[in-house]
Symmetry: C2
Subunit: 314 residues, 2 copies
Amino acid sequence: MLRIGVDAMGGDYAPEAAVKGAVMAAREIGSESRIVLFGDKERIEAILAGEGVGSEGFDIVPTTEVITMSDHPAQTFIKKPDSSIAVGFGWLKAGKIDGFASAGSTGAMLVGSMYTVKPIEGVIRPAISSVIPLVGGGSAIVLDVGLNVDCKPEVLCQYGIIGSIYAQGVLGLESPRVALLNIGEEKEKGNQLTKAAYEMMSECGMFNFVGNIEAKYLFTGQIADVVVCDGFIGNTVLKEAEGFYEAASKAGLCNEFIRRMNYEYVGGTPVLGIDSTVIIGHGCSTPLAIKNMILQTERTVKADVGNKLKAIFK
Amino acid sequence: MLRIGVDAMGGDYAPEAAVKGAVMAAREIGSESRIVLFGDKERIEAILAGEGVGSEGFDIVPTTEVITMSDHPAQTFIKKPDSSIAVGFGWLKAGKIDGFASAGSTGAMLVGSMYTVKPIEGVIRPAISSVIPLVGGGSAIVLDVGLNVDCKPEVLCQYGIIGSIYAQGVLGLESPRVALLNIGEEKEKGNQLTKAAYEMMSECGMFNFVGNIEAKYLFTGQIADVVVCDGFIGNTVLKEAEGFYEAASKAGLCNEFIRRMNYEYVGGTPVLGIDSTVIIGHGCSTPLAIKNMILQTERTVKADVGNKLKAIFK
């Protein structure tokens, strides 16, 4: 039995959106998986009742506190020990759940990932990743997308390993093509960071390095399944894509690719390189977004990235 | 009389596309401006004749050599002194033309900009810039887009000054809003470079600094007229936009904003912070792209960025 922990109090529209999303996810999740909700038990049960769903389909772990945007992430685990996020991470650390997802405070989720769950030994810097849609269907993975904004080349090289393992699990690819996001195709192109990272990645031998990828080809799938970059660049390319999605939506332009760029279908952002499965959802998550975040958490748990990385870095 | 120098031999489809583009530009260019073509005189005259245009509308400076992609940019001015680009830069340096544009070797154009024309004293690092379309109409300016891929914060701060002067001239804005491309709106967001640059830009007082801009808002015009970033980031956001443009085009999605993202309407990339006007066009320029490159060169000459920067940095 896989136990998928979900913060029922996380996100701008919680607990309503979170619980409704959990109800939607429960209909699609594997029979060997069970959703564990962390939050205000009474409110959760009332929302479930309103949805016409009994609470027997879920485990509910009652918590009394909620982390808000005004709480300082680094202090929340001490100041609000009975918050849904703090309790959720406690359960995750103790192995009582197999993954934990929240659309709540990104800062608190990262603090929990780094200080409660902790990075895998040998991983220099964990990353957060995003699954992006490809124009012709299918998906690619970008990492880092914002956790590590000043990267060293050896960190980018490790992201090649981490991204490759993750892509094997969630995209089902045997030998994912890993590329370095750069401003030219040729190996001598780039800034100091990407030039040095290119050298290391081409000599690493632990993943299928296919060279540089220019941002023009990010969404075409022609070059790479996994795109490695520092968190500043990764965050920027995702936000630019979000801008184009919104411009297209407002203008009434739509096709399957554009539809799939909607964050509600993306799910959330896994924290990779840590000793468990943690997924951070979008703050303004709708029930649909929460549903996809939960299903992604299940997929990521099954991908077993943490244990595979431990085997590599041991 | 403004004399706009054009490399007739530059670009993948030269001299045909370049000369045809010059013919198109001549119909729209100001009566006080005159196009000066550098290249193979016989071929230029033959193309003009084919277009049913007499050569009296243009000045032709005959040159015998052509810089190709296989020439090393740093050596071309010595090895091919009678190439259209080398002769063009000679005329520019001597003040016999007021601006020079080419869709040929970017490397050679940059070498000419830095070593024949030279940076303005006080400018730490020149930049290349791009005019981007906004969703609701109008344009914004991004710099640097690829010349300086490892920037120091003081260089980004100067780009605020340079971009502001350029936007005043070409966008006709009195006090352009200058923003720093970053991964969050708050001043404490970013990597080491953007945090330090934010400090300097907010204290500079030589332009209308409006704070950070996230890539999501690059094309909305809500926040900034001038977007400052290092050349790696700038080049990446432009290439990603190119990717979206191509995806939309292939899918048959179109509106005015998408149409304006077509590089043919952008013209070219001015080199800013040097002591004259130099515009680098797209290698695969069509006649339409060449036309817009020439008209942009005229606008940039009129904006008189070089002299205005000299007055500031003297």
